[in-house]
C-alpha cells in the first residue's frame, strides 16, 4: 500500500469530505477527496503520456499548494521519484539539484522558478519538460518547446486516460516496498546537498509509527483535525505533517498563502495540529512581547500578571511532564477567562491540541511559555535519513530540554565512545542518491544509522541532544563545548535572531550576533533612538549595551569555559540566497566563519 492507494481509498469512502483548502482571492477554496483523487489521476496519466518510467525523477519547485501534492502523488502513482526543491533555492542550487537527481520533468510554480530552470537548462541534460502552474508572465511571452502549462498538462492526462483508462491502476498495482518514492535533499550545512532515498516501505513504516500509530499525537490524528501547511514540503518534517498525515489520517490540510502570512492564516484556520521550527516559535513569542509593550496600561498589567502565572504553570508542567495538577488547573481556568483564551485565539492556537517543535534545537524557555499558556508543546526529533522516526515527547510524558523517548518498536542506541545517537528500524533510508560512499559513512553493515548527533540518556527513558557531532567545539584549552546550547540560550531572548558561537582551537569563545530587527526596532523607537538601516541599528552603542546585558545574563548560567567572552554584530541579516543559511534557515557555520573572518579575528586580536 502506498500513500496514493490511501488517497484513492478516501476518495471512494468519503468523496465529498474536505481534503484540503487553499486561499484564493480571500476565500479558502475547498478541495474534496474526490477532486483530489481526480487531479492525482490526471497528473499520473499526464506523466505516463510524457514517458515517465518506474524510477524516473520528477522535480517540484513550488511553494506549498495543492498542485504540489497532486504532482507528488501522481509521480508516486506511476512509480516515479519525487524530488522537492526549496522555493528559495537560487539558480546555482537548482542546477545542482536537477543535474544530480537527473529529473526528467520539472513542475515549476511560476515565472520566478521557470526562469531559474531556464537559466541553467544547459547543465541539466535530462530535463525534458517544464510544467508551470501560474501562467502570469509566462503565457504569451515565453516561446519554448520545454514549457507546458498546467491545464495543458492535465488535458494531456485526460487524453491519455481516454486511450488507456487502466494504465495508472496497473502501474500502481506494480508498486513494491523497495521502490524509491522520493529524494529528500539534506540541507547541506557542510557540503553539497545529498539526496536521501526514501522507499515506499520507509514511508509506510513512518505512517504506521507516526500517524496511525499515534507516535506524536494522542489520540491519533483524524478527519476532524486541521493542519496548516507553511514550511517547505521538500523537508521531511513538513512532508510528514502535510502529505502523510493527510493521506493516512485524513487530516484537513490548509495551505498558508506564504511564510509571511502565517500568523494571519493561523488566526483564520485555528489548526488543531501544529508543527513549527524553532524560528517560528521564537518569532511568535517575540511578537507577543512587542504587542504587549504597545498595549494600553490596563491590558498590559493584566496580561503581564497572567503571563507570570503562566510561567508558574509552565514550571509545574515541566516538573510533572505535562500533566496538570489541581492548582495549575484552577489557575489556568481563571486565567483562561482573563487572558489565555483571547491570547491563544489571537495567536491562532486556540484549538491546537498538539504542537510540536523540531528540525533544529530550541531553547527550553520558549517551549515553557507555550506550555504555560495551555498549548501542549512537544519537542520531537528525527531526520530525513530515518524518515523522521527517532524520538518524540509523548503527551503527558514531556521532559523539557530533551527530544523525548524513542518510538515504540524501533531500536535506538547511544554510542558509548562517541556519544553518537544511532537508530535501526524499517524507516532507515535506502542510501544517498548516486553516492554509495556517503551512504557507507552513515549506514553501517549491521543496519545502524549514524545520525551525527551527540546525545545522552536522561533517566534512562528520554534522550537529550548535546549538539551536532561536527559542531562540537574543542577550545585551545582542550575543553569540549556544545555551541548550540549557548546559541539557543542567547536566541531565547526576543531581541536576538542569530547567534553563532565560535571558538574551535581558540583560547575562548566568541559569538557573532544578529539582532531581531522587529523587536530591537520597536525597542529603539520607544527609547526615541533614530536609526536608518539594520546595520545602523546594530552599531548603536545602546544596542550594544542591550545585547551585552543579554550575553552577561546567559553567561551566568554557564561554566567559565563555556562563556562568551566577546561578541560582534553581523553587519547584515543572514540570507539563503547569499549562501549564509541553508534552505531550512540553518546557519552554515563554515560559510559564516569564512565570510566574516575579519570580524572573528578582530574579537581575538583585541
Amino acid at each position: 500500500m502506498t500513500i496514493v492507494d490511501r488517497v484513492r481509498e478516501r476518495a471512494r469512502a468519503t468523496p465529498h469530505a474536505v481534503a484540503m483548502r487553499h486561499k484564493d482571492f480571500g476565500i479558502w477554496q475547498e478541495v474534496t477527496w474526490a477532486a483530489y483523487w481526480t487531479q492525482v489521476e490526471l497528473v499520473a496519466h499526464a506523466l505516463l503520456a510524457l514517458g515517465i518510467e518506474p524510477g524516473d525523477r520528477v522535480a517540484i519547485h513550488s511553494e506549498n499548494r495543492p498542485e504540489w501534492l497532486y504532482g507528488d502523488l501522481g509521480t508516486v502513482a506511476v512509480r516515479g521519484i519525487t524530488v522537492g526543491l526549496y522555493p528559495t533555492n537560487p539558480p546555482a542550487e537548482v542546477a545542482y539539484l536537477l543535474a544530480d537527481s537527473g529529473a526528467a520533468i520539472l513542475l515549476a510554480e511560476d515565472q520566478e522558478q521557470v526562469d531559474k530552470a531556464l537559466a541553467v537548462r544547459d547543465e541539466c541534460p535530462d530535463l525534458r519538460r517544464i510544467v508551470y502552474m501560474e501562467p502570469r508572465g509566462i503565457r504569451g511571452r515565453y516561446d519554448d518547446d520545454l514549457l507546458m502549462s498546467w491545464p495543458e498538462f492535465l488535458a494531456l492526462g485526460a487524453e491519455h486516460r481516454a486511450g488507456h483508462p487502466d494504465a495508472v491502476e496497473r502501474r500502481m498495482a506494480e508498486a513494491a516496498p523497495d521502490d524509491v518514492m522520493t529524494l529528500i535533499y539534506t540541507s547541506g550545512t557542510t557540503g553539497p546537498p545529498k539526496g536521501v532515498m526514501l522507499t515506499v516501505g520507509n514511508v509506510e513504516f513512518a505512517v504506521d509509527t507516526l500517524v496511525t500509530g499515534g507516535g506524536f499525537t494522542s489520540p491519533p490524528p483524524s478527519e476532524r483535525d486541521l493542519a496548516l501547511s507553511y514550511l517547505p514540503l521538500c523537508h521531511v518534517a513538513e512532508r510528514a505533517f502535510t502529505v502523510w498525515f493527510n493521506s493516512a489520517a485524513g487530516v484537513q490540510v490548509n495551505f498558508a498563502e506564504s511564510i509571511d502570512t502565517v500568523q494571519a492564516n493561523l488566526r483564520e484556520v485555528q489548526p488543531t495540529i501544529l508543527f513549527g521550527v524553532p524560528r517560528i516559535w521564537e518569532k511568535v513569542l517575540a511578537q507577543v512581547n512587542i504587542k504587549l509593550e504597545s498595549a494600553s496600561p490596563l491590558k498590559r498589567a493584566i496580561t503581564r500578571f497572567w503571563l507570570r502565572v503562566a510561567d508558574r504553570i509552565g514550571d509545574t508542567l515541566v516538573r510533572t511532564g505535562g500533566t496538570h495538577t489541581l492548582g495549575t488547573r484552577l489557575a489556568y481556568a481563571i486565567g483562561w477567562v482573563f487572558c489565555y483564551r483571547a491570547l491563544r485565539e489571537r495567536l491562532g492556537m486556540r484549538r491546537v491540541r498538539y504542537a510540536a517543535s523540531g528540525a533544529a534545537p530550541i531553547a527550553p524557555d520558549v517551549l515553557k511559555f507555550y506550555m504555560g499558556i495551555g498549548i501542549p508543546m512537544h519537542e520531537v526529533y528525527g531526520m530525513s535519513e530515518n524518515t523522521a522516526i527517532a524520538t518524540a515527547n509523548r503527551p503527558g510524558r514531556v521532559r523539557l530540554g530533551t527530544v523525548g523517548e524513542p518510538h515504540p518498536g524501533i531500536e535506538l542506541k547511544i554510542d558509548e565512545a562517541t556519544g553518537e545517537i544511532m537508530t535501526r528500524h524499517p524507516g532507515n533510508f535506502a542510501g544517498y542518491w548516486r553516492n554509495p560512499r556517503a551512504t557507507a559513512d552513515v549506514l553501517d553493515p549491521d543496519g545502524w544509522l549514524h545520525t551525527g548527533d551527540v546525545g545522552e540518556w536522561v533517566d534512562g527513558t528520554h534522550v537529550r541532544i548535546t549538539d551536532r557531532m561536527k559542531d562540537i567545539i574543542i577550545t585551545a584549552g582542550g575543553k569540549n563545548v556544545a555551541p548550540s546550547e549557548i546559541e539557543n540560550a542567547l536566541k531565547a531572548s526576543p531581541y536576538l535572531k542569530e547567534a553563532v558561537v565560535i571558538g574551535d582551537q581558540r583560547p575562548y569563545l566568541v559569538a557573532l550576533i544578529g539582532i531581531e530587527p522587529d523587536t530591537v526596532g520597536e525597542w529603539a523607537r520607544r527609547r526615541g533612538l533614530p536609526y536608518t538601516t539594520y546595520r545602523d541599528l546594530s552599531e548603536k552603542a545602546e544596542t550594544r549595551e542591550l545585547v551585552r546585558g543579554i550575553v552577561n545574563e546567559v553567561n551566568a548560567r554557564f561554566a567559565s569555559v563555556e562563556q562568551v567572552k566577546r561578541f560582534a554584530f553581523l553587519p547584515k541579516e543572514l540570507d539563503h540566497e547569499d549562501g549564509e543559511l541553508t534552505a531550512t534557515q540553518k546557519v552554515k557555520r563554515s560559510a559564516i566563519a569564512k565570510l566574516f573572518e575579519d570580524l572573528v579575528e578582530g574579537m581575538y586580536a583585541r
Binding site: 474536505v18 480571500g26 479558502w28 475547498e30 474534496t32
Partner: protein, 389 residues
C-alpha cells in the same frame, strides 16, 4: 444565511468534481465561499444576539405602557427616514438638507390616497396600507429623481444650499395648496393605516391602537433596515461608497456618476416618503408647518449622532433623538426659567434646537463615527484583548 452554498470556484478541468463549501465549526474567520464572507450575520454570536434583540423588541408590546409604545413607534418611523438620509448622505456622500421635503410629499400622497372621497380635502378612499405606502414612497422617489440632476452638477456646500431651497419651496407650496393640506394652522387628517380590512389606528381584538401601530412600525423598520443593509453590501452600495470617497476616481474606475447619484436620491427619497406616510398615522393629523428646516436638521442630527454610513447607527440615532424629546419636554417642571410656551424665550423648543446643535458639534469633535463609533470602540477594546490592536 444558509449554512452551505455552492462553491464559486470554477473547476480546473472539466471532470473535476467541485464540492459544497461548509462553514468550519469554531473558525469564524475561515470563509470558504464569498456568500459566507458577505453574510450580514456571519457568526453565531451575531445571529443569537440579533435574534434576541428582535424578540425583545416585539415583546415590548406587552411589557410597556401605551404612551411609551407611541413614542417608540414614532422613533421607529423616524429611523426609517434616517436610514433614507443615510443612504444619500452617508453611503453616497451627497449632503442633503431637503429631507423634510420628501417626507412631506410622502405624507400628503398617503393622506390623499387614503382620505375619504367625499371629504373636505382631496381623497381617493384607498385605506389599504400596502397600496398607499409604496405609492407614497414612489411619488417621493420620483421627486427625488427630478432633483437629482442638480446633484450631478453640484457638490458639497452648493448641493446643501440647493436642497435647503427645496425645503422653503415645499413649505410655501404646502401652505398654499389648501385643498390638499388644509393650510397652515388647520391641517388635515393623516393616512389611515388599514391592513386587509383591519384598522390599526383603533383599539381592536388584536390589541390597543398603540400596540398595533408599534408592531406595524417595528416590522416595517426591520424590512427597511435589512433592505438598506443589503443595498449597502451590493454592487450599488460599493458604487455609492466610491462616489462618496472621490467622485472623479469613481468615474475613472467605471462608476457612472449620474446614474448612481440619481439612484441614491431616488432610494433615499423612497425611504423618506414611506416614513412620511407612516409618521402621521400615529397622531392621525398632518399640519403643513411641521415640514420645516427643523425636521431636516433633526434627520441630519440622527445620522451624525447615530453614525454616518451605518444602518444600525441610523436606528440608534433616531431612538436617541426621539427619546430626547419627552426628556426636554419635561424641562419646565425641573428648570423654572425654561418655558413650555412657544411665545416665551427661552422655551423648550429652542432648548431642543440648541441641544441638537450642541450634540452634533460634540459628536463631530469627539466621535465622528457617532453612537455606532462608540460601539465599535467598545467592541474593538474587547476584540483586541489582550493587546491593543
Amino acid at each position: 444565511m444558509t449554512e452551505t452554498t455552492r462553491s464559486a470556484a470554477a473547476p480546473a478541468a472539466p471532470d473535476i468534481p467541485t464540492g459544497r463549501s461548509h462553514r468550519v465549526r469554531g473558525r469564524p474567520l475561515l470563509y470558504t465561499s464569498y456568500a459566507q464572507d458577505m453574510a450580514l450575520l456571519d457568526t453565531r454570536a451575531k445571529r443569537v444576539w440579533t435574534g434576541l434583540l428582535v424578540v425583545l423588541a416585539f415583546a415590548l408590546t406587552v411589557l410597556l405602557q401605551d404612551r411609551s409604545l407611541e413614542v417608540l413607534a414614532t422613533a421607529y418611523v423616524m429611523a426609517i427616514g434616517a436610514i433614507g438620509l443615510n443612504i444619500v448622505t452617508g453611503y453616497a456622500g451627497q449632503v442633503s438638507l431637503g429631507h423634510a421635503f420628501f417626507v412631506a410629499i410622502g405624507a400628503y400622497t398617503a393622506a390623499a390616497l387614503s382620505g375619504p372621497v367625499d371629504g373636505q380635502r382631496l381623497g381617493y378612499g384607498i385605506a389599504e396600507i400596502w397600496i398607499w405606502l409604496p405609492a407614497a414612497g414612489l411619488v417621493a422617489a420620483a421627486a427625488g429623481v427630478l432633483v437629482a440632476p442638480l446633484a450631478t452638477r453640484l457638490r458639497g456646500l452648493y448641493l446643501a444650499i440647493v436642497t435647503l431651497g427645496l425645503v422653503f419651496l415645499g413649505e410655501h407650496i404646502f401652505k398654499e395648496w389648501q385643498e390638499l393640506t388644509g393650510g397652515p394652522g388647520v391641517g388635515r387628517e393623516a393616512a389611515v393605516p388599514q391592513l386587509f380590512g383591519v384598522r390599526l389606528d383603533q383599539d381592536g381584538p388584536l390589541g390597543t391602537k398603540e400596540q398595533l401601530l408599534y408592531t406595524l412600525m417595528l416590522a416595517l423598520l426591520i424590512v427597511f433596515a435589512v433592505a438598506a443593509r443589503n443595498l449597502a453590501r451590493s454592487r450599488i452600495g460599493r458604487a455609492f461608497a466610491a462616489v462618496r470617497d472621490r467622485d472623479i476616481a469613481a468615474e475613472v474606475i467605471g462608476v457612472p456618476l449620474t446614474r448612481y447619484k440619481v439612484l441614491a436620491f431616488g432610494i433615499s427619497s423612497f425611504y423618506a416618503g414611506c416614513a412620511g406616510g407612516l409618521l402621521y398615522t400615529i397622531s392621525g393629523y398632518v399640519e403643513p408647518g411641521s415640514f420645516s428646516l427643523l425636521m431636516s436638521v433633526q434627520f441630519i442630527a440622527m445620522v451624525l449622532i447615530g453614525g454616518v454610513a451605518t444602518v444600525s447607527g441610523s436606528i440608534a440615532g433616531a431612538l436617541f433623538i426621539t427619546l430626547l424629546q419627552p426628556l426636554t419636554r419635561s424641562l419646565p417642571s425641573l428648570v423654572p426659567f425654561v418655558s413650555g410656551d412657544t411665545t416665551q424665550t427661552p422655551n423648550v423648543f429652542q432648548v431642543e434646537t440648541v441641544l441638537y446643535g450642541l450634540l452634533i458639534v460634540l459628536f463631530l469633535i469627539f466621535e465622528p463615527r457617532g453612537l455606532f463609533g462608540l460601539w465599535i470602540r467598545i467592541r474593538n477594546y474587547w476584540k483586541s484583548w489582550p493587546f491593543s490592536y
